[in-house]
Structures are given as structure tokens and as C-alpha cells.
Symmetry: C2
Subunit: 329 residues, 2 copies
Amino acid sequence: MRRPTLEAVAALAGVSRATVSRVVNGAANVKPDVRTAVMRAVDELGYIPNSAARSLVTRRTDSIALVVSEPPSRVFSDDPFFSAVIRAVSQELEAADRQVILMLASSPAGHARVERYVAGGHVDGVILLSMHGADPLPAALGRSRVPMISHGRPVSSLPVPYCDCDNEGGARTAVEHLIGLGRRRVATIAGPPDMTAAQDRLAGYRAALTAANRRPLVAPGDFTRESGANAMRNLLADDPEVDAVFAASDLMALGALGALRAAGRRVPEDVAVAGFDDIELARFSEPPLTTVRQPVAEVAACIVTMLLAAEPPTAPVILPTELVVRASA
Amino acid sequence: MRRPTLEAVAALAGVSRATVSRVVNGAANVKPDVRTAVMRAVDELGYIPNSAARSLVTRRTDSIALVVSEPPSRVFSDDPFFSAVIRAVSQELEAADRQVILMLASSPAGHARVERYVAGGHVDGVILLSMHGADPLPAALGRSRVPMISHGRPVSSLPVPYCDCDNEGGARTAVEHLIGLGRRRVATIAGPPDMTAAQDRLAGYRAALTAANRRPLVAPGDFTRESGANAMRNLLADDPEVDAVFAASDLMALGALGALRAAGRRVPEDVAVAGFDDIELARFSEPPLTTVRQPVAEVAACIVTMLLAAEPPTAPVILPTELVVRASA
DNA sequence: CTGAAAGCGCTTACAG
DNA sequence: CTGAAAGCGCTTACAG
């Protein structure tokens, strides 16, 4: 017993396939009684359109790929920021009646899979998330001429439209806050240098320090908690005078908090700590974390709007961040 | 400039569409020089088959839906067990050259989305993960006659084939271990009662206690860390004599560890603790956790094999677990 | 408002 | 080993 087709519905309702198609797709110009008859037939047979057939003619799939350039462990367990972004984007896409296809592409094999999938016409658009360095994905996907928006500024030489939060401005505000607290030696724990979010936040830190005529003190990290703890230990070793730290991600700030506690430094009395992201955990840390809130939902909404727009967007959109002051700084 | 079609490749190579199709699909019987000519044309045009057209005739999509009946927060951040399972299943599916479509279906709206997607013929099969109670999904999906395998024993009245680990046996072994340690008052922190994994582990606990002629002491939990901490506090309040606890998940065991520490009880000296799952964190807790290892990779492989089998499998497959003894018990 | 017909881009018996 | 032709299940101008 095969799934019923349009043909079967048409036969049962006593109309043509074209009419059934119109009713199913909600076209306006169908006589009410005909519509009713068709709907009844649809219900009776449990008819659901075959999506392959539909895609073949409409050239649409109503699916969007959300491509994350990170390994599964990081997406699924480690970083609550990813889950927040994925959740927000999914919600927007679902609201727009699109199916989300989550694809992780951290390995070359993953890249190839994504390329084939997109090139095969499985999706109407691609959202790029968490790209590192000169990710080859935009160029590869560009060939299939599928609309593509990057979540966050891409490094790509290709002009991929994107939406991002104001990483530089947010970082600068946070560092200015630390300086405004009267802190003398303000360090930063930077993110991975191959990611623009990390670059921009570092630039914001430098700008604030330069404006205040201070020497920068930078410890490298990679956005993870462990790297934050390590960096904090190094910072303390390098310069025991450190009395404030801006971590380029909350997870790193949390790591730093742990390292400071282990080193017997009080937060914020001895060392003030600020983060970036405002993940949920930031409210529950000891002490609660002062941080820069990213407008996750707004960025997600913006990206989906850009992606589904009739005209491909040209200018990037930068959304403002907000400093959330809690107990840590 | 549209994507090139079979037609274009055929014209360029000077052969028929049928021949191009054969080459592209790796059919054996094509003359080497013809094959070469076609491949060259494919390369030159950057031809990639249109998947909608292909699906329409083959009635296959080479995609499999992995449906998780949990909210995004739990899948993406909270529970490392999900990420392990998703990762393992994805790996197996990719090895079998299938695309994984991850779908979360914790709300009625999510259910409807999944149903429509599956009924629309988007996938060749469905893997059900983490179903609760009498989940309506199997019945709904059953109507589309898509092959379906459950990861873990379903409650469903429908005979959904499944693969699971030996939850009852694993739990019994763990509890026997606690009793073998000479513990007198062995409690359990149970999982959500609407999940078979929780039911079976509880049954294993009861069986071991009954065999040893002990009274059961059960505190309800829901597999999360917080619920484990709560349950442990209640257990301590209900019966201060408790000197061993079997938690039905590692996350709950970790929560119990925290609660015990807060209550000033030493582990394992005062209270021995065992968990279930063997998530990565289990090795790094203080003290490292004695737990029951689930064969995550093996279950994943089994499920994919069952799903892709020519004949729909009938009997469930139960894989053995293994007690991993560390410092906590 | 409705239907007949063409066509989306493939695969696959069927001949040869 | 290769090609001509039918057909997968839809949508959509085009007539009427």
C-alpha cells in the first residue's frame, strides 16, 4: 500500500489534479464547496504531498542548513553559547516554516559532506556558524549559488553577508568599566586568534587600554573554560599586580574565577573579572559574573530575515551589546 | 546560470542520459573509455545530481531522522549522555553514507513537525531516542510506513523494534557490588518513571536487594544533576544510616556526590556511590565514580544495522553493560 | 473558477 | 554495452 498521491485525491473528490494542488497549497481562487470536497478527500486518504516531487518543480525545499564549524563535543556539551544560538536560530526558522538541518563540519570529511548536500539541492539556504580562519566553506558553497549568511563576521575574502553583535564595542565597554572601577592592571584572556569574534573583542580591549594610556596584558585562550583557567594562572605568574581581567568569553571567565579562587585571590576585591556572552551560568557563578550580553535572539532573527529576503543583502548588520554588571566586577 | 543537468553532461560527453546516469551511479557495465568521457564532462560542468529528482524515482532519500524527545536545553547542554549517543549514531550513519537529520520533538508542535516531515517522505527511516511514557510518535510515524527503530526499549504498545543495553542487569550488578562491599543500607536514586531505562534500572536495584533480603529505599529523580543532589539530601534526611547509593544516571550520582560533600559525608568511607552511563565526567569527579558502562557505540551500530536491514527486524537486541569500579564505591 | 498539458531532472526496464 | 522512452508526483502557465 503506497502513500496516496494527488491523483488519488483528485479521483476521490471528482476534480482535476490542478484543483487539488491549489487547495493543498492554499490558493485563493477555489470555490468553497469544491475546496470542502477536496479537503474531505485529503483527510480521508491521509494525503501528504510528496516533497521530492514538489521540490523538483518548485525548486524549493523549505529546508535551511545550519552549518557549525565545530566538533560535536563542543557543540553538544561544552559550550552553552552554541546551544543558545542553535536554539534561537531554530526557533526563528521554524517560525518561518522552514526545516532546520544541523550539520557539523569541523573535519575535511564534514566539509565534503556539507558541500555535497548543499550542492545536491537539499536546502534553500545556508547559515554559517563559528567559522575559523579562512574557512573554505563559503567559497565552496558559493559555487552552488545558494543564499548564505554568516552568523558573525567571516574572515573570508568572499563577501559573505553577515549579522554580528558589536564585539569590539562590547569589549571596550567592559574594559572601560574595569578601568572606571579604579583598577590599575587590566589584563585580558583572548579567544582563538582565527576567529573574528576573538579578534574584535581583543581590539576593543586594546582600544580601551590605549585610550586610558595603559599597557595591555594579553593571555591567549580558546573560548573554553580550561583555557580560561590556564590563562589566569599564567597571568598571575606573569604579573602578580593584575587586579582586573576581561575574558573574551564567559566560559573562560568562569575558568578564571576557579583559578583565582585556587590562587587565594578574592573576586572582586583582589581581582575584578568580566566576561562576554552572558550565558546562563554567568548568573549562578560565585560571584555572579559581570559580562557583556550578546543579543542572541535578535541576531538569530536578523540572520533568518536576511536569508529569506527576496534580495540578497549586501551590508552586514551589527547589533549592539549590553554590559550586565553583577558582583564580579 | 542554472545548475547543469544530466542532459547537459550527456550532450557534452556525446552519450545518452541513461549512460551518464549509469556512470554517475557506478553501474558496472559501461565501457572504460565511455566512462572516462562522461567523468570528464561531469568534472568540467561540476555536475551534481539533483536529489529531488533522484528521490522522486528511486523513492529513497539517503537521509535518516534522529528524533529526540527532549527539549533543546537538555540535548545541547545538560546531559553529556545525549551528545555521546548522537555522536555515535551520526558516525554510524555517516559511515553508511546516510545524512542525519536531527529533530527535537519535546513539544506537541515538535511532534507535528516531525510527523509532517517524515510523512512528506523526507527520510528513509527514523531512529527514536529518549522517548517518555506512551509517546504518540511511534503510532503517528507508523502510519507512514517508514522503518523505525527505537534507541532503548519503548513503552509503546506498538511493536517498535529496538536495541538497548541491559539496564536491569547493569543495575543489579552495581547494587550487588555495593552489597558485596559490606554496605548495610543501600538506597537508590531513580530516574523518571515514564522512561523504561529508569524502570529497568529500578527493577535491577530491587532484584538485587530482594536477593540479599534487604529493604529498598528509593528516592525519585529525573536523570539530572540537580535531581540527584535533591534526592541525596532527602535520602539522608529519611534515613541517616544510608551507607550506599546507586544512582540511575551518572549525572544524578554527581549531584549526589555534591550533596554528600555538603552534608559532610565522606565518599566512599561513609557512603559508597555508584552511577550508570559512564559519561566522561565520571572519571574526573572527586572521587572518580564507580559506574555501569553503557556500550554506546555498539548500541548505535546495532541500531543503524537494524534500520538499514532489508528485512524489518522483529526481535529486540539487548547488549551487555560493564561495571567500572573506581574510587567512589 | 477549473482542467488539459507540459515539464521539473532523474532512473530503469526494455530493446537491440 | 548503449539508447529511446516511460514515468516518479507534483506545479503552473495557458485556455476556456
